[in-house]
């Protein structure tokens, strides 16, 4: 099956939905790739490069309401990817495998990338609808986003 190409590529050929798009935020180029599996989401965020970066797995861990994140390949719990993966699970309710090469100590890049990713996930219908907006506070020192 042939796939179509466009600036915002959405390849539905062959079963899995693969969505690729690029955005420029604050003169930074962010690349996004989202692969929708029936019970999971794989996502990649590239910051000014096409390196895969570090890989994280995140999911709800029952019976608690919390989300656990595991560094699968490289990285550590204080890397941006770990935080983004955790918050995507919280907002989407899906299991997430996230690859990201966003550098450490870049809270604004992290926040912008996460926002763009969530916008796309909502647009694609992969997330639960939010009944009311939440307020976010960014801690620039730790690079954490608090609800």
């Amino acid at each position: 099956m042939d796939s179509t190409t466009s600036p915002q590529q959405e390849n539905d050929a062959g079963g899995l939905q693969v969505h690729c798009f690029t955005d420029v935020v604050d003169e930074l180029t962010l690349h996004f790739q989202i692969i929708r599996l029936p019970k999971q989401i794989y996502a990649w965020i590239g910051c000014n490069s096409s390196k895969m970066g570090h890989l994280y797995a995140a999911a709800h861990t029952r019976p608690s309401e919390g989300v656990s994140v595991s560094c699968v390949l490289g990285g550590s719990s204080d890397n941006p990817g770990a935080g983004i993966a955790r918050r995507i699970v919280l907002k989407s309710g899906l299991n997430v495998i996230l690859a990201s090469n966003i550098p450490k100590n870049s809270p604004m890049i992290e926040a912008n990338a996460e926002r763009k990713m969530m916008e796309k996930l909502v647009q694609l219908g992969y997330t639960r609808p939010r009944s009311e907006p939440s307020s976010f506070m960014i801690n620039p020192t730790a690079g954490e986003i608090h609800r």
């Binding site: 796939s3 190409t5 062959g14 899995l16 790739q33 999971q40 096409s50 895969m52 890989l55 390949l73």
Partner: protein, 124 residues
């Protein structure tokens, strides 16, 4: 079979095949520093392995394969990753492989099928 996407900086190929009667979705992505192969029959990424070529003292290349997420006691999955990294290396690619296998069975026939279809649609 799917065509290679090249406008986006990460080329990828996505397709679906039947292996031993099971629908198998495959996505191959070519990052700058890794090749990612996802082959799933169960709707999730399943067990994830990393395979890379190691520069050794001898002229023959050596490869390191390890499970980085999931089942660690399935030697056929490791063998599948090993086959793929050897093929990648022999075709000149130096990039490590991240292989994700979510399969209903780990028989030799299934894994040979996965290797065959991935090589048929390789992007390295």
């Amino acid at each position: 079979m799917g065509s290679v996407e090249q406008h986006f900086p990460v080329p990828h190929r996505s397709f679906s095949v039947e292996i031993k009667g099971n629908k198998t979705d495959v996505v191959i992505s070519g990052y700058n520093d890794h090749i990612l192969v996802i082959a799933t029959q169960i709707g999730t990424m399943g067990t994830m392995l990393q395979a890379r070529k190691e520069e050794g003292m001898t002229s023959e290349p050596t490869f390191h394969v390890s499970v980085i997420f999931g089942k660690r006691d399935e030697p056929m999955l490791t063998a599948c990753a090993r086959q793929l990294i050897e093929h990648m290396s022999s075709s000149g690619s130096a990039r490590p492989l991240v292989l994700s296998l979510g399969l209903k069975d780990h028989s030799m026939e299934t894994l040979k099928g996965v290797v065959s279809y991935v090589l048929e649609n390789r992007i390295w």
